[in-house]
């Protein structure tokens, strides 16, 4: 497999992250980093703290301990708006689409940070506002094409099947043209064929746009095939970190997560 | 086909004020039926059309607009609702349809120079307030005895409740009594704190300027706080069976103002025998004939028909009157005792004599008391308060209105 992209420096670094909810320790002293342009997978059994990890990265949760360094800026926690502003986009495990809006509108929301016109201009729908709207629409249509959801463009997402919603959600995250894309089980509820497409798609995004990707996925086939490095969590603790092959060979990981060879 | 004098009825028979609405309009319609049964107004029959307003301004406006042109045009209109009255205040002037507001609405509208089409007949809130102090003064043994007395004004916290304040405040200064103002938030179904305050202040009298459920609750709460009901003097909208019956025993001894003398009158008997016996009665409960609201409705209808008759006198007996002619009739009403007698309503309401300057025509009221069963008049004579005071207020206020609306005051011919 030829690798056109070049994995760069560490762009996101988490040190000693601990997070608990009441008595539940979701994350305990976790450190790991993400390098520019890489595909970084997080795996682990259910309830290991994977989603919580992503929530910490983009500021939905504030860790009690630890430090986050993003592009050289060190901070105790992120906040969601700042994270979005600085190029972190994501999808959610329990689909978090805007149910009452059409597919198109949902994906358009992904571009909101790139919109410049103020609301008065938008109310008048005049000149620049309209131009801007259309320019963004073009971008979004590209994504729609890419994801092959043209036919449901104007359908309210609430009416879509689960799998299609997942795709729309990815589209929304992509629309933000993020630097880091956090994907929480993007392929849950898809069949192999669809997973193949999705993988191809993630690879393409990673390749062509150079987007860094942090991915949670339970399908080991996918994880092993497309990720550059994998971090393994179990009960909120990190039990492995390395290339897919290294992780696969790690006995602790096998015990905790993989069980019988897949 | 339009040989009948048409009157639109903007009634409300559902909702919180339905009891009042059905009683008042029921009385008016009963009287129309009586007139028609007796051959009409010099042969001109009365026709009417009803529209449910739900006491809601915008529905009232719609009803007014819908009905006003029907059957050859409205003779007059009476919404029995301050909100609706305001909503059509400008419209009636434009449409040249006289509007009566019996005992409510703008007190300053009595000035016919500014409000040529509005007739707050018999009496306004200001005159009522003045009469109240007069009555309380008399009761205390003379106006000078009011000095140092404490009077609580317990009022519905709205434009309605605040309306009498200019009068009461002026009189408190003049007679040296202390006026304690205690508002009750709408709708007033809880008044414990107000009555505790009253108990604390221990006033000589309480003026109850209430509306709707507030009245019954006031009486009940007064009872439980041990405040004697005969020291409470209600406004006439707090003085109907609908206010006292729900309060039960608590209402016994309670006094209110009224512009109808409770009792039986020939006209009521006639309504019973000629209308109800013929199955044309408007109230489903016949026993309500002669109740306060019903009598008020009969009174209103009587004044309306009197105005029409007055107009006929000038513009042609037995003819159909236009609304402008009827306006003239209202402005030149003279229902004196003799006339009342022929109408079978001797003393049922004070004599009314209107003019361009005075669209009210009387300003006299009585006090009635609830004996646990029915209302009894406690003042044999009509009481009139300090009309000079109210007149001055009226001039001032209507002048301001005229200025705002850019009206040049003047009498219509």
């Amino acid at each position: 497999m030829t690798q056109t992209r070049k994995i760069g420096e560490v762009i996101l670094d988490l040190q000693g992250i601990s997070l608990s909810f009441g008595g539940v320790k979701a994350l305990t002293n976790i450190s790991f980093n993400v390098k520019e342009h890489e595909i970084r997978a997080i795996i682990g059994p259910n309830g290991a703290g994977k989603s919580s990890m992503l929530n910490v990265i983009n500021g939905v949760y504030r860790p009690q301990l630890g430090e986050i360094t993003y592009r050289g800026v060190q901070r105790k926690d992120m906040n969601t708006y700042a994270a979005a502003k600085s190029g972190i986009a994501r999808t959610f495990q329990n689909i978090a689409l805007f149910k009452g809006m059409s597919v198109l509108d949902n994906i358009m929301t992904g571009r909101n940070l790139k919109m410049k016109s103020n609301f008065l201009m938008q109310a008048l729908y005049w000149g620049p506002a309209q131009k801007e709207e259309i320019a963004h629409r073009e971008k979004v249509e590209e994504i729609i094409d890419f994801l092959e959801i043209q036919h449901i463009r104007k359908t309210p997402v609430g009416r879509l099947s689960y799998g299609l919603q997942k795709r729309v959600e990815l589209g929304r995250a992509l629309a933000a043209e993020p630097e880091i894309l956090l994907l929480d089980e993007p392929m849950a509820g898809m069949n192999v064929e669809e997973k193949q497409d999705m993988s191809r798609f993630i690879l393409d995004v990673n390749d062509q746009l150079g987007t860094t990707i942090v991915l949670i996925e339970h399908d080991m086939g996918v994880v092993m095939d497309i990720s550059d490095r994998v971090v393994v969590l179990d009960y909120g603790k990190k039990i492995g970190d390395g290339t897919p092959d290294e992780v696969l060979a790690n006995q602790e990981v096998i015990n905790a997560y993989l069980g019988v060879a897949h | 086909q339009t040989s009948e004098q048409y009157i639109p009825i903007l009634s409300y028979r559902v909702g919180p004020y339905a009891a009042g609405g059905s009683g008042f309009y029921g009385g008016a319609i009963d009287y129309f039926n009586l007139i028609n049964a007796k051959g009409g107004l010099n042969g001109v029959k009365i026709s009417w059309e009803e529209c449910e307003t739900e006491y809601n301004p915008s529905r009232g406006v719609e009803c007014y607009e819908r009905l006003k042109k029907n059957n050859g045009g409205a003779s007059l209109v009476e919404p029995l609702s301050t909100g609706i009255a305001y909503g059509i205040l400008d419209r009636v002037a434009e449409d040249k349809i006289p509007m009566t507001t019996l005992g409510y609405g703008r007190s300053d509208a009595a000035n016919g120079k500014v409000f040529p089409y509005i007739f707050p007949l018999i009496t306004s809130y200001w005159n009522q307030a003045a009469a109240m102090t007069k009555y309380l003064g008399d009761k205390s043994g003379g106006m000078e005895k009011l000095k140092g007395k404490k009077i609580v004004h317990l009022y519905h916290d709205s434009a309605f409740g605040k309306e009498p304040l200019p009068v009461l405040e002026a009189q408190a200064k003049q007679y040296g009594f202390e006026l304690i103002k205690i508002p009750v938030a709408h709708p007033g179904n809880e008044q414990q704190s107000q009555w505790l305050q009253i108990r604390q202040a221990n006033p000589d009298y309480v003026i109850l300027w209430g509306w709707g459920v507030m009245n019954a609750v006031a009486l009940k709460t007064a009872q439980r706080n041990g405040f004697s009901r005969d020291k409470i003097l209600g406004v006439w909208w707090a003085g109907s069976e609908e206010d006292t019956v729900p309060a039960g025993d608590a209402a016994k001894g309670y006094t209110t103002m009224t512009f109808n003398t409770p009792g039986n009158y020939a006209v009521l008997d006639e309504i019973r025998t000629k209308v109800y016996a013929a199955g044309k009665g408007n109230l489903s409960d016949k026993s309500r004939v002669g109740s306060v609201y019903h009598m008020r409705g009969v009174t209103a209808a009587m004044l309306w028909t009197e105005a029409i008759l007055k107009a006929q006198e000038k513009f042609g007996k037995g003819k159909l009157m236009t609304s402008e002619q009827i306006r003239w009739g209202f402005e030149n009403l003279d229902v004196n005792e003799a006339r009342q007698k022929t109408l079978g309503a001797m003393g049922m309401f004070p004599p009314v004599k209107t003019s361009c300057e005075d669209h009210e025509g009387s300003g006299a009221v009585k006090v009635q008391q609830w004996n646990g069963d029915k209302w009894i008049a406690v003042t044999p004579n009509w009481i009139v308060g300090d009309k000079a005071l109210t007149r001055a207020l009226l001039e001032e206020s209507s002048a301001k209105y005229a200025a705002e609306k850019k009206i040049t005051p003047g009498c219509l011919k």
Partner: protein, 285 residues
Amino acid sequence: MTSPTVANFSNASPAAPATPAYLSVNNIEVIYDHVILVLKGISLQVPQGKIVALLGANGAGKSTTLKAISTLLRNERGDITKGDISFKGQRVDHLTPNELVKRGLSQVMEGRHCFAHLSIEENLLTGAYTRQISRAELKESLEMVYHYFPRLRQRRSSLAGYTSGGEQQMCAIGRALMAKPSMILLDEPSMGIAPQLVEEIFEIVKSLNVKENVSFLLAEQNTNTALRYADFGYILENGRVVMEGDAKDLAANEDVKEFYLGVSSAGRKSFREMKFYRRRKRWLA
């Protein structure tokens, strides 16, 4: 690309399962919102004591089919406009879900649907609502679920709304088990579940199936595993059944291998090596 051999395919394999149908869906048509036609005549049978898999791409109509059976469709403004459904030989399409559960048919809905404000244990307990049982029996059922999903025991007292996706999925499955149904409709049970647990869930399915004679109709995307455990399979596409047959036959079919199992004659391809999007070349548009 293989030509669409749909029609003959079903002829080639035993067209209908030999045992009399426990659940049978006859030619149903479903319309959402009075206008959106989603199922265009679906028929399928689940024999007693068998596991039947319902496969198909996103939006093919799997969940809709399951909801049609459990009559939950009604509340999503969907209507069965044609066809009928019978369970244990009786028409059930007019029943309420409660009556269905009482008759032994439970559904695990797609997308978890746990009661967020109830704790995990309370969630499980609601599952036994229809059963008139003693405390001890209840406890026993609860223990059984905890036995299957030890993770749930740990989180038993936390509000379901605050548990992880996988924990919620376990909770949803466990909740359905609490009703002791004789037939379960499972909508994507493996979604969001860690691999070893996926196997476990299917093992649970199998053992319930074998030991307690529970029948299953399961909609699954994890075709591989599903076909391994199922007896029979249906493949849906665009609201129609395009293929049906014994699970083994299906698993051996070239088209199925290619599209649903991700293996071609050349063996399994790496996800990284897929050079093009396959959906572009769908055999049935």
